[in-house]
Amino acid sequence: MPAQNEAPQFPFPPSPVPYSPGPQVRELMAKCPVNQVRLPDDSTAWLVTGFAEAREVMIDQRYSRALVFAPGRQVYGVEATLSDALIAKDPPEHTRLRKLVAAAFTDKRMQALRPRVALIVDDLVDAMLAGPRPADLSRSFSLMVPASVICALLGVPVTDVERFHEWSNAIFADWSRSREEIGQAYAAMSGYMSELITQKRESPEDDLISVLIDARDSRGKLTEAELVDFCIQLLAAGHETTASSINMSFVALCQHPGELARLRADPGLIPAAVEELLRYVIISGSGFIPLARITREEVCLGGVTIPAGETVLPSFNVANRDPAAFEDPDRLDVGRVPKTHLGFGAGAHHCLGAQLARMELQEALRGLLTRLPGLRMTRPMSELEFREGQVIASMRELPVTWDDA
């Protein structure tokens, strides 16, 4: 175990390859699946990069999310807005809220939604085909697929996308951004959502916000604050993550022309490719600190003894490159069909939108690879610009072009 003063400063500098782990975290991984790091407030935490170990932290109830929000404890960036959220609670409190929406995001429901998503994808591709080249894939496609879908599910007007995307960009802030800025964006988004909830209270519609209002008003299942927060998080998490995943997956494929060609030649590989991309492609920004867990008691993890009350950071995305779990983990292989991966986390907080995101990514790749011949980036990867201070990598633009049909 390294002495506290040797613990490296975390987060590490940006990786030269935005979708892959950088050299500093690789060095730690090679040492031990669990290593001590120093956080920006000078406290120490345990960074967990081993696959089995990260999964254990996310599943085992000896690691608490709720204790992260204990009074006086430092929380970073976006975490400050999450204290009332699903992601901030432990079972059984967590289960109470999660049950309210689990049925709306099952695989069955998502497969029923697929034709509608395919239509959204095709309309966006049609618009690209009718428009100028190069086009900004990020703005015209990657953002609009998940934004349109989550708006339809929640009952939010997609015409408001500019507003709520700006707010959620400000909210998904890493440790380096000011509390005030995050707080202002959150307040603006709360105001917007409360207004929408008021409208839907008067005239309920066939959408998820109305379902949650009913769970509160007729059945007392959640508080008003939880209701508003829930809707905000579904809207924000429901579009930023998938948008980044489409962008970064496309960029990663462009850097692996052999794999891209394989996928174009056999679109039947798309579902497998999506799983491999979810494993391989890191979509967190460089300043991302994995959502913390606190040990409730002394634990032994990956051969390391961690006392009670310590901060543990399950680095699920880096753990997807653990050679103990995947053969040749740093190779992108669209035919791999990984048995499991941690792209959606694990345990109580396993991504609520996992089956939705999978389906969206499959339809998005189908649209991009089968309908836009020779789709490619017009700039080298090194010239891509990312917004500063985001926990989810957010490209300013992703210029692309394609060949005539």
Binding site: M58, A102, K339
Partner: protein, 74 residues
């Protein structure tokens, strides 16, 4: 009335939601699919919640005596 717990491993996506929702009641088998620790259990809210939280509806709860499905939690 005793419940029977079954996991359809063909559906299970190894999310670990059930392992965390009903601690000690589910575990991963060698192929990383969830499997009930005990196939038969007395009625248990956490097990019922786990079944209701599974993202692929892979967990089936039935009454051991009749084979009728256990109703979901409210």
């Amino acid at each position: 009335m005793t419940w029977r717990v079954t996991v359809d491993t063909g559906l299970c996506i190894s999310s670990g939601v059930c392992l965390a929702t009903a601690p000690g009641r589910f575990r991963f088998d060698e192929s990383q699919h969830s499997s009930p620790v005990q196939a038969l259990t007395e009625p248990d809210d956490q097990v019922r919640d786990a079944a209701a939280s599974c993202p692929v509806e892979a967990i089936l709860l039935t009454y051991a005596g009749t084979g009728e499905p256990v109703p979901p939690p409210d």
